[in-house]
């Protein structure tokens, strides 16, 4: 190894290292400067989504900081733990926003958040549904997205009881929900997912509100927001 080579190597190595450290340092500085603000923004985003499915006036807790992690492959469509945000009024559980997955969309999974309240035992009311993420065919299945069509608002204030269960289907299958022209699968999947999540809520109402809070840390709540972000594109 010649001297020239040693010199070049050392010089290049050091310069590169200095630049790496400086740029990384700058990023670190910016990160420090912005992290609180970013966390705040994300909470607000989450809150706005949760407020879209649960009426703001119906609860008084920091809903986005109060959640349980629930898993039900059968009813919530995923093996992964999903967030369930709990709305309480004066310590009493009044409603919940459940993240759920419809596994049988036309082009894969559809992620939803469903706001549910249960005014009386055995019956539940859907307070709102929002699609967080989907890959449905543009122009056909994507009408489940609120920005494309307000079909999803059709779930608002629908009551579910065991008797009414058969109505929770698309019209083609004899239910009460519209399908879109040319596409039955997507709405069928969404309706089914909402229905199952309501069933889950009814079945687990008691345990949900007693579970430990899994959303103490600010950072862990960003999942919904992230999904929502993606979907915005």
């Amino acid at each position: 190894m010649t001297k020239n080579m040693q010199y070049t190597m050392t010089k290049n190595g050091l310069i590169l290292a200095v630049f790496a450290i400086v740029t990384t340092g700058l990023i670190a500085l910016t990160y420090f400067g912005t992290k609180d603000q970013i966390a705040l923004q994300q909470q607000q985003k989450l809150l706005s989504i949760l407020n879209a499915v649960i009426d703001k006036s119906s609860y008084d807790n920091a809903i986005h900081l109060d959640c349980a992690l629930v898993t039900s492959a059968e009813l919530l469509g995923s093996d992964e733990p999903q967030h369930l945000y709990r709305a309480t009024k004066q310590g009493q559980g009044v409603a919940a926003a459940i993240e759920t997955t419809a596994p049988d969309g036309y082009s894969g999974q559809i992620h939803l958040v469903v706001g549910i309240t249960s005014p009386e035992a055995g019956s539940a009311k859907v307070t709102g549904v929002r699609v967080l993420e989907h890959k449905e065919t543009p122009g056909l299945g994507d009408k489940i997205d609120l920005r494309i069509s307000n079909w999803v608002l059709g779930f608002d204030n629908q009551i579910y009881t065991a008797d009414l269960a058969p109505n929770w289907a698309v019209k083609k299958d004899g239910g009460q929900f519209d399908q879109f022209t040319g596409a039955t699968i997507t709405p069928r999947a969404v309706v089914n997912a909402v229905k199952l999540s309501v069933e889950y809520y009814l079945a687990n109402q008691a345990t949900i509100f007693n579970a430990t809070n899994a959303c103490g840390e600010i950072n862990s709540v960003s999942v919904v927001a992230e999904k929502a972000n993606k979907n915005n594109e």
Partner: protein, 364 residues
């Protein structure tokens, strides 16, 4: 005395491009007749609209490109493209669908690439895919076969439906699309796919009430139409307008794939025959994939090209987003044609094949 000077050969086989195209158009007639028989006048109206649009577009663009359009129109290639596109779309699709599609086929896919002989993609199929992607609702709504439709329709009804969306008596398109049992139409392929998606097996799906007489009727119609095109395709083979390589390898590709899979699990995977005679396999194999401009040009290449289309059709039908897949498969393989052609160059007389490879290497 001035003598004529020309380059040899002085003799010429008496078959020009126009003749070839006219033969292909001729061969389409049985299929088109059957399609009209089953689905009514809509098909004819679509073909008429498509031909007019194609000719006007071609003439206008050639004029813009300052080329001799009269001569170019005489080769009938635009008419053929128009017909292929027209028979692929639902008979009662609104008029603007076929107009946009034909314009796209001729104006963009064919002429923007340089006109006849220069288009990389099959114009009819590229336009079909464009329409399917852009207007999925209009493009997936087939009407029931005439004998099974809830409301019968004549030529004027069809004309009205295509242009206004309503028949003369005021039935809406949606009504016309409804079968006698009141179920809106979907093709068997579609239905099976939906059924499978819902977790039913293949056999369950075709036995479910939803797979009723209308849909199976549609399947029957589809099979008959396929037979019509098969007849035309055989005529083309006999006339040596097309070679056997592409149709045979394409059908074989699909047949073998579907056979293997249905042997593996006949509950989930439909039989080979179901695949072959549903959708546009036959017309695709004989009329679309064989389009010389966008297909492979070597014999070995044609076999690869055709077989790959067959495999793609199967893959897309089974695991893709759209129920039928001929158009996508053809387009995918169109892209691969230069590559196929390059690697399937026949061994030239007096050359050993290994020599060529080493030469290639040396050049690279």
């Amino acid at each position: 005395m001035k003598f004529r000077l020309a380059s040899s050969p002085h003799q010429h086989i008496r078959r020009d491009t126009g003749q070839v195209m006219r033969l292909v158009i001729l061969a389409m007639i049985p299929g088109v007749l059957l399609q009209t028989w089953f689905f009514g006048w809509g098909t004819v109206i679509q073909i008429g609209l498509a031909i007019i649009t194609a000719v006007v577009t071609e003439a206008a663009i050639l004029e813009l490109r300052k080329r001799d359009f009269e001569r170019a129109l005489k080769d009938y290639s635009a008419v053929l493209t128009a017909m292929l596109l027209a028979v692929s779309i639902p008979p009662f699709a609104p008029w603007w669908v076929i107009v946009i599609g034909t314009f796209f086929a001729i104006g963009i896919v064919k002429q923007l690439y340089g006109g006849l002989g220069f288009n990389v993609f099959n114009p009819a199929m590229a336009a079909y895919v464009m329409l399917l992607v852009s207007f999925p609702v209009q493009m997936t709504q087939w009407i029931p076969p005439v004998n099974l439709a809830q409301y019968s329709h004549n030529f004027m009804d069809a004309l009205n439906a295509v242009f206004t969306g309503f028949s003369v008596e005021g039935f809406s398109l949606a009504q016309l699309k409804t079968g006698i049992d009141g179920v809106t139409m979907a093709t068997p392929l579609d239905t099976v796919k939906t059924g499978l998606a819902q977790g039913f097996t293949y056999s369950e799906t075709i036995e479910r009430p939803i797979f009723d007489s209308v849909i199976s009727g549609l399947g029957v119609a589809s099979s008959w139409i396929s037979l019509g095109y098969l007849l035309g395709g055989l005529y083309l083979l006999k006339q040596k307008v097309i070679n056997w390589h592409i149709p045979l390898s394409m059908i074989a590709g699909l047949f073998i794939c579907s056979l293997i899979m249905s042997l593996v699990d006949s509950d989930l995977y439909p039989s080979s025959l179901f695949h072959l005679f549903n959708g546009s396999i036959i017309i695709g194999a004989f009329f679309i994939a064989t389009d010389p401009v966008s297909a492979s040009t070597t014999n070995k290449g044609r076999i690869i090209f055709g077989a790959a289309i067959g495999v793609w059709v199967y893959l897309i039908r089974e695991w893709g987003g759209y129920p039928d897949a001929v158009a996508f498969a053809v387009l995918i393989m169109n892209m691969a044609v230069p590559l196929i052609d390059y690697y399937t160059r026949p061994r030239t007389y007096g050359h050993s094949s290994s020599k060529r490879k080493s030469k290639d290497k040396a050049q690279s």
